[in-house]
């Protein structure tokens, strides 16, 4: 079952998600091995495919490096749930077809290690550990269209 990795932090930035010392490559698999390294050196070791990152406000602030999204996606993280997202990171994620969830009271509802099941269509997170259902606002329609097409480049090719 997908597990939540909770970082009770605001402003988790792109330098922490993928430090610049690894930006000499854009290979997703290689970037993934350093995912979240400057925030939590053990992140990659303890993360399984489908797991979820949970954080506070302004997640992904800083650089425009899409490498941050690729590192997270490459580490097979299913989504990031945060109180708010920084603008460029949010936009990059949509462009890559990577779904993000905004949840203002996330720390009350999700604890570290909780097992979650997410229904993106319904906008519903089932917290299997606490037994609670948590609803969230789905992304706006234009973003859903881009994600459904598999990212911005497919989307504009279609147009």
């Amino acid at each position: 079952m997908p597990k939540a990795h909770v970082y009770k932090r605001d402003h988790v930035n792109t330098d922490e998600i993928i430090p610049a010392r690894y930006l000499n490559t854009d290979n997703e698999a290689e970037l993934a091995t350093h995912c979240m390294e400057d925030l939590d050196v053990d992140f990659v070791k303890k993360t399984q495919a489908g797991d979820i990152i949970v954080a506070g406000e302004d997640f992904g602030c800083g650089s425009s490096r899409e490498h941050a999204v690729w590192a997270i996606r490459g580490a097979k993280v299913q989504t990031v749930i945060a109180k708010t997202f920084a603008r460029i990171f949010y936009r990059n994620s949509i462009d890559c077809g990577f779904y993000l969830i905004e949840l203002p009271d996330v720390f009350e509802k999700i604890k570290d290690g909780d097992e979650l099941e997410i229904d993106y269509k319904k906008g519903l997170i089932k917290n299997l550990t606490s037994g609670n259902d948590i609803s969230f606002n789905p992304l706006p329609n234009f973003a859903l269209e881009i994600i459904a097409d598999g990212g911005l480049l497919n989307h504009i090719s279609k147009k």
Partner: protein
């Protein structure tokens, strides 16, 4: 309908009479800025999708800067991909080593930035160009690929926050101190998704270089763009630097335009500031942190690596010896030559500083000036996140070139006013 300058520029770019905050638009892009970290992946994506087109080889500006000159084999490969593509696509404004410089210092200097235009770049500090009354914002590689291929991008028209900067700056206080004070007040997400419009008499006295330091850091408050209206100072700079296409349209905010909020600053009360680790919003007056020992000083970057910054630093360092490792990185070859011709290199050399070729280098923890665990660096750059300049256990203190220079001389955070 009354509009802000940001709304007017975006309306023009979308081919509409008016837009308002919240509208989704498809905007035509006037200039796309490309560098060595985010553009090679964009090129690969386009190849992979079989999209061979470049919307306009005259409107794309390419300058490798982050790892230039190539710091290792992998970055050399990035540069090679960029080089092959730029040549193949006949990119008109491709700055190679020797002409390349830190992107946000290079583009205005080389006359690529015009008021009223929409500029995007694969770099978060692309917001710098807003100092010229342009709409300018940073994007990631996928957006960059889309912009390169189509010359268009979708935008949500941002709400604007007006920052009114009043009062004359005191001795030893610079635009860097002003923007650090602004971010300290509103926090690193205080302007998230918003346009930060700067107005007021304090700006009137500032050079374009000084204004660019302010808009450069809009992203550090989460802003989508930073913007400053056009005036005589803007015009004089453009007259000197625009070579290619000298026409442009000037927009200004209507007096009754709508703002999400208005923040007023009495800049005469601002003191030299230092942003303590690990957020750019950690700004405090120098009095609260002076005496803290440093291991390195870094004077350079797109925030403060321009000629004016080097002159300010040289004035303080002149005739003294620096107490710590001090790196001087002119942001572009033109600035480098100017500094040399003005004799600034002699001053820096005599004081024991090292002077490098134009590069982003250590600003992003890339190379040349990386910090070891436990080390502290006073830096004229714009970010002090964990690990920004090296070890995750090192620390970066953001300050003006004057504060960095005075601190280099004493080896500890120092009030620059005693040297001015």
């Amino acid at each position: 309908m009354a509009m802000t300058i940001t709304e007017k520029i975006l309306a023009r770019a979308a081919g509409k009479d008016k837009v308002r905050a919240g509208d989704l638009i498809d905007a035509n892009i006037d200039i796309v800025m490309c560098h060595d970290v985010t553009t090679p992946p964009a090129i690969s994506m386009l190849k992979e999708k079989g999209i061979d087109k470049v919307f306009d080889p005259e409107k794309i500006v390419v300058t490798p800067d982050h790892f230039q000159p190539a710091k290792d084999i992998k970055s050399a490969e990035l540069h090679k991909r960029l080089d092959t593509w730029a040549k193949e696509k006949k990119i008109k404004h491709y700055y190679k080593l020797g002409r390349a410089g830190v992107c946000h210092a290079l583009l205005p200097e080389q006359g690529h930035i015009r008021p009223g235009e929409v500029i995007v770049g694969g770099d978060s500090h692309t917001c710098t160009y807003g100092a010229f009354g342009a709409f300018s914002t940073g994007i990631g590689s996928t957006d960059l690929a889309a912009a390169i291929a189509t010359g268009q991008l979708w935008f949500k028209v941002p709400e604007s926050i007006k920052f009114v900067l009043n009062g004359k700056l005191g001795k030893g206080v610079y635009s860097k101190d002003v923007i650090l004070a602004v971010i300290a007040r509103i926090s690193t997400d205080g302007a998230i998704y918003k346009a930060m419009e700067f107005v007021g008499e304090t700006l009137a006295d500032m050079s374009m270089e000084a204004r660019m330091t302010i808009t450069n850091m809009a992203i550090e408050a989460g802003g989508k763009n930073g913007i400053i209206g056009f005036d005589d100072v803007t015009k004089a700079y453009l007259d000197e630097h625009l070579t290619d296409k000298k026409d442009y349209t000037v927009f200004e905010s209507d007096a009754d335009a709508e703002y999400e909020s208005v923040e007023e600053f009495d800049c005469s009360k601002i003191e030299p500031m230092v942003a303590l680790p690990h957020l750019p919003s950690g700004g405090v007056a120098i009095g609260e942190c002076q005496g803290m020992e440093m291991d390195q000083a870094y004077i350079g970057s797109c925030t403060n690596g321009r000629i004016e910054d080097l002159r300010i630093a040289a004035n303080i360092i002149k005739g003294k010896e620096v107490a710590i490792r001090t790196l001087i990185i002119p942001a572009t070859p033109v600035i480098w030559k100017q500094a040399k011709d003005e004799g600034l290199f002699d001053i820096f050399y005599d004081a024991g500083c090292v002077i490098s070729a134009p590069t982003c280098g250590a600003c992003l923890g890339g190379f040349m000036g990386i910090l070891a665990a436990g080390e502290k660096c006073v830096s004229t750059t714009n970010r002090n996140f964990v690990g920004r300049m090296g070890s995750p256990k090192s620390e970066v203190y953001l300050a003006s070139p004057a504060t960095a220079a005075a601190s280099a001389v004493e080896g500890k955070l120092t009030d620059c006013r005693k040297y001015i």
